[in-house]
């Protein structure tokens, strides 16, 4: 999973000109498109954008944890995955398992991202 984290940097206009204001939040990109945000600290909870389902969010959080472990700048994020769908993650897992596992659904998930974001 090609995950990229880019710190959100705002710009404030002051009498002496624009000043960059780094925030404590990263944008999360999957395959070059933003899929959510996450705080720049250990235990931060991933905030998905609209259209990111819980199954994908769980994979994204795992990828963020791996990347942050490699970078060594922060500890791992929280493994809590906010869900905005009515189906529970367990129910979705069960549905995926019934359909033959994750591999069968990977293409569908990626296709959904391109359509919904």
């Amino acid at each position: 999973m090609d995950i990229e984290l880019r710190q959100i940097v705002g710009v404030s206009v002051t009498p002496s000109g624009p000043v960059e204001s780094p925030t404590v939040v990263d944008r999360v990109f999957l395959n070059g498109r933003q899929v959510g945000v996450i705080g720049r600290h250990s235990g931060a909870i991933f905030g998905p954008l609209a259209g990111v389902n819980p199954l994908l969010a769980k994979d994204i959080v795992a990828a963020i944890a791996k990347k942050r472990a490699e970078d060594g700048e922060f500890g791992p994020p929280s493994d809590v995955v906010p869900s905005v769908l009515s189906d529970s993650i367990d129910e979705l897992h069960a549905a995926v398992d019934a359909a033959g596992g994750y591999a069968a659904d990977d293409d569908d998930i990626e296709e959904e991202i391109e359509v919904t974001l």
Binding site: I8, Q34, A44, I45, A50, G51
Partner: protein, 142 residues
């Protein structure tokens, strides 16, 4: 170009509160006008010698509140009122041609939570007021 708010999200960095939001009110920023009128403030001799009050902007800005409306989830909504100050990120919808949405990042906490009205044939909705504490950092989408 004008765009709708469809696709906007708000993320709570520590509590992880989330729901199916139906409205995210951006709120407003305000500052007081501090009166600077003095005994020597200029008179308007052409209009019966009246004087006009003068003001300067206060150096304190209140960044207001964010009003959230969302479908009620008994498992999530009621606890927001108990949470501490946390980093909150509001993301604007991603425009055509962009790969990321504009964002507002700020510190905030819930000051009000309104429970849902329960009626037949209608979804339960709740509202929550988030008080902004301090500066809001704006970042454009790209």
């Amino acid at each position: 170009m004008a765009t709708s708010g469809h696709g906007a999200t708000i993320s709570f960095g520590t509590s992880g509160f989330t729901s199916q939001f139906t409205s995210i009110g951006s709120g407003s920023s305000a500052r007081e006008a501090v009166e600077t009128t003095h005994l020597g403030t200029e008179r308007d001799t052409a209009n019966n010698n009246v004087s006009y009050k003068t003001f300067q902007p206060s150096d304190l800005i209140d960044n207001g509140e964010k009003e959230l409306e969302f479908y009620y989830d008994p498992a999530a909504g009621t606890r927001m009122i108990t949470k501490a100050v946390e980093t909150i990120t509001m993301t604007y919808p991603i425009k055509p041609g962009e790969t990321s949405g504009g964002a507002e990042v700020f510190e905030g906490f819930a000051t009000n939570y309104t429970r849902p009205t329960m009626v037949s044939a209608d979804l339960m909705t709740a509202t929550c007021t988030i008080k902004v504490s301090g500066i809001i950092t704006y970042s454009a989408g790209s």
